[in-house]
Amino acid sequence: MTYTPNDRYSDELLNAFVDDELSIEDKERIYRALEADAGLRQRVDELRRLKDLTRTAFQSIQPDFPHRAGFPARQRISFRIAAGLAVLAVGVGIGYGLATRMQIPVIGEPMAPVVTQNIKVLFNVSRDDPEGFRKVLDQADLLLKKDNPQEPVAVRVVAHLGGLRFLGVKTAFSNRIQQMQTTYPGRISFLGCTATKRQWEDTGAVVELLPQVVMVESGIYEIVRREQQGWTHIHI
């Protein structure tokens, strides 16, 4: 998706930036604008927090019977009665457990889901170590194969410093990264560090990353932020 200069700071453009719907060139243009414009940074930050908040608010919504499909409507009455009994039986225990675990969130920051037992794993790739990166992809693959509605699995790979090169368009891992994103849509994302990219470009290097890579301003900041959100952090 490309935009003309007239669209530079439109709401639509900023939303597309937050949703990672822009081309690398447009994303870069926005990143440069963000550096110079505090108001723009605030606007983008606000949109990101809103997106996180909206997603989180509905994350715990689950049907009564996650694996039931294709039954005619008239059969649902008995399912609902059974659901009521089951909920009654375990409700007190679960309620107590949730109440004791519940924490007051920081306003504006994403919150952990209330009920679902999400597995959220963050791989921190900071070294130029192909064998290490291959293991990251292997482990991510194993985790994502265990994804199911009761225990959804989310994997994020943050690549920065020497690790950023693995997200390039012409590496031994390009096809596999793209294949994993197709196989596990929405379950795995590869996050690239803009600060690292900028450092390389300052030395005259041409850095071309895969179009699926989501650029974050700082790999380290992203890792710290997600750790605070409850992501399991694995450093390779």
Binding site: A57, R76, I104
Partner: protein, 184 residues
């Protein structure tokens, strides 16, 4: 392309079942009613089973299912024109200074704010923000141009920002800051 037999197989039914939680979450975000959401999902899955052969690309199963459910939802709206649910709005105004920061209060406020969005905005925001669909997939599901998705998303989020302004503010340091309550 997989054969009809394959599409009607247990594997296909299993894939439908796996999609159910996501469908339900979106249906609930659209309707704010568990029973109606259950019915929508059930209707969509039943239609998907009946029309399995119409799925040309098995990899596009989820977007196809969401599109079926969107049609079910629009049919439902035609049969049952929506009157605004005052109950959920009342819930949003029940906040007190002591509970403003609690987790469930925030969740409720966000859900209620989404419920207050006009239908088209609500559908778009939920598909993109909650389910993570791309603009192209969302346009396909809602049968509108990508430009419409972008416009609805932008306007929908602006409305949410206005409704949730206090929840999105950077936490203040020092003494607690008085928050504005929504008064009906």
């Amino acid at each position: 392309m997989k054969s009809n037999k394959r599409l009607r197989s247990g594997e296909f039914r299993q894939r439908l079942a796996s999609a159910r939680p996501r469908l339900f979450r979106t249906a609930y975000a659209w309707t704010h009613d568990r029973d109606v959401a259950e019915d929508l999902v059930q209707e969509a899955l039943a239609k998907a089973l009946r029309n399995a052969t119409q799925l040309r690309d098995p990899d596009a199963l989820e977007a196809w299912l969401f599109r079926i459910m969107t049609n079910c939802w629009h049919d439902h709206l035609r049969r049952n024109p929506v009157t605004d649910s005052l109950d959920r709005v009342d819930l949003a105004s029940e906040t007190t200074p002591e509970t403003t920061h609690s987790r469930l209060q925030i969740i409720n406020r966000v859900r209620n704010a989404v419920a207050e969005l006009p239908q088209g905005f609500r559908e778009t925001v939920t598909l993109v923000d909650i389910e993570g669909f791309s603009y192209a997939d969302t346009a396909n599901i809602l049968d509108v141009p990508v430009g419409t998705v972008m416009s609805r998303l932008s306007r929908g989020r602006n409305r949410l920002l206005a409704l949730l302004k206090t929840d999105l503010e950077t936490p203040a340091t020092g003494p607690s800051v008085a928050r504005v309550r929504r008064i009906k």
